[in-house]
Symmetry: C2
Subunit: 340 residues, 2 copies
DNA sequence: CTGAAAGCGCTTACAG
DNA sequence: CTGAAAGCGCTTACAG
């Protein structure tokens, strides 16, 4: 059997409580001498505290969930963007001596279940629709410290962390407009449902206005952010709207597909059409031509998520305002002045 | 407060035990009538069992760890290959009502700590060196069901799941040899330490022999599997060994970098030099030219890892033999007959 | 500075 | 088919 507090206490000839205090670093409550003696025994016996016992007895589990939408039978689709966030969250939490539980959510009820059954201290919700976050209430969530990433829900139960989506798309559109483009298309998924895409769309439209370019709804397309959908979109665009000379997209993968689709129809990038991606995923630099794209501050986003969560766990009662992280344009090879 | 078994029992007018039996589906032990009544109350009150209480009282936690090597202060580096595995493991485990804990391991001792503190039922070790798996002993591991992925350690404490590494490299080399190549280089990381790379190297060398091609140690290079290292390698190869007409690599990213480096030095791919990747990651199909590569059965690997683990948890005492999954060549655009 | 008691929410035998 | 008792390994007040 694994060694327990009791074993250590017996060997040291002290009470359970004293060992507990030593193990938890409550220095003030134990003399240096007994502390050293106990520590030595702990080391020798290779004592590891039981997290389940601890989380049952204490109010804290030191467990944080990373909840990601999932299909029932499908494996988690983890975008390049999500991967970065996972890796960074894990590091931040590990540093603070927390553990990370990764969970796909196929049904609404599973959120509550995950939070409750493991007594999670906090959770990061990644990639949920605003509406789903809106629906969270105290009954389902309890007092878990929730951080919703890339979400524009006003629900005070979830602290928000996101990038400057309006600004990112504005940056991309501005770059194209400054290059001389006038017919600029916009492609992204789920307009109505996801606030992120909506803000980016608004950034695009805003800059159009600033440059006196009339907004043309026909130039805006709902396209899923996969390479395949991008290819289809690129082909369609080339055939149906040959007048378009530039495209703002909401994801690198989508942009990469768009470039391919365009080329498949005989249009060159950036000769005939400029394309700008979003995220600056690793692949953006691998493809040919290398993708001009909008980079998010992913490490900042992960760090901020953890910072907000720890703040709430430490007792910051007032719901902090949503944090918005800066964004920047990475100029590479897919944006150039229009021909003529 | 959250509702507990006791609350449900009180409301139903039965004992705690009966509710526990109902919740855990021990049908035989409760009459249909009380079962239905209890279930209704459970639903109404939104009862969620406490996993920590359960794992403390029972021998099982229904928690599985995914342990990945990490640097102390660095965020987890999750390769495209690892991402797939994570997503698939999560799905398989979720289906079986297990939860996944993701943990970076910076020091040896953290493995024990992770396993013990959360009473993990099992763990998948992903990306560790064979030597690290070798060192695992019963004292550090207890009776946790361990699966080591992509590892050739003989340690019976960890069930092995891997692809046919020898066969994969053999397939790639065979393809090149059949195309007419005679000077075929091999590039991969950490030869001595990682069994995976060693087997692939052996596959390469074996096929060379079969084709009567003399083995030239100078054609074998230790290169980290990043795109940057690949670029450097490609340039070096172009300058120092212009006679080489083909390269077998152990990773897509490395292959992609190699192609770039080769081209930067004025060599064309596959015109002057053929390059074959490994893994068939998504990016392999995105780059230009599209990468010819060796595909692993990733879903199979994840499913097999879970299957083995569940077998052990169900009591398969005898250590199952390591499982080896098949591999296949995906022909795309980076391999062609040599010039001349 | 140290300890005895109660309790966190379950499950595991064991009775009836 | 149902239940009372003991215990899993800790922490939290509260005493001394």
């Amino acid at each position: 059997m694994a060694v327990t507090l009791k074993d250590i206490a017996a060997e040291a000839g002290v009470s359970l409580m004293t060992v507990s205090n030593v193990v938890n670093g409550k220095q003030a409550r134990v003399s240096a001498a007994t502390r050293d003696r106990i520590m030595r025994i702990v080391e020798d016996r290779g004592y590891v505290p039981s997290a389940s016992a601890r989380s049952l007895a204490a109010k804290s589990s030191r467990l944080v969930g990373l909840l990601v939408p999932a299909e029932d039978e499908a494996s988690l689709t983890i975008s390049p963007h999500t991967v970065e966030v996972i890796g960074m969250l894990e590091r931040e939490l590990r540093r603070l001596d927390y553990h990370l539980m990764l969970r796909g959510i196929a049904h609404r009820a599973e959120i509550t279940e995950a939070l409750r059954s493991w007594h999670l201290d906090g959770a990061v919700l990644l990639g949920f629709l605003d509406a789903e976050i809106d629906r969270l209430n105290v009954r389902t969530v309890g007092d878990v410290a929730l951080v919703a990433m890339d979400c524009y829900s006003e629900n005070p139960l979830a602290l928000g962390v996101r990038s400057d989506d309006f600004g990112g798309a504005a940056l991309a559109t501005e770059h194209l407009a400054a290059l001389g483009h006038r017919r600029i298309a916009f492609a992204g998924p789920g307009f109505s449902a996801t606030g992120v895409v909506r803000r980016r769309f608004e950034g695009y439209r805003h800059v159009l206005g600033e440059h006196g370019i009339a907004y043309d709804p026909e130039l805006v397309s709902a396209v899923e952010i996969t390479r395949g959908d991008g290819v289809a979109y690129g082909r369609r665009l080339a055939r149906e709207r040959p007048d378009v000379t530039a495209v703002v997209t909401t994801a690198d993968l989508l942009a990469i597909g768009t470039v391919e689709g365009l080329r498949a129809e005989g249009r060159s990038v950036p000769g005939d059409v400029s394309v700008i991606g979003y995220d600056d995923a690793d692949i953006a630099a691998y493809v040919t031509p290398k993708l001009t794209t909008v980079a998010q501050d992913l490490p900042g986003k992960a760090a901020e998520a953890v910072r907000l969560m720890m703040g709430r766990l430490a007792g910051d009662a007032r719901p902090a305002a949503a944090t918005t992280l800066p964004v920047r344009l990475v100029e590479r090879e897919t944006a150039a002045p229009p021909r003529s």
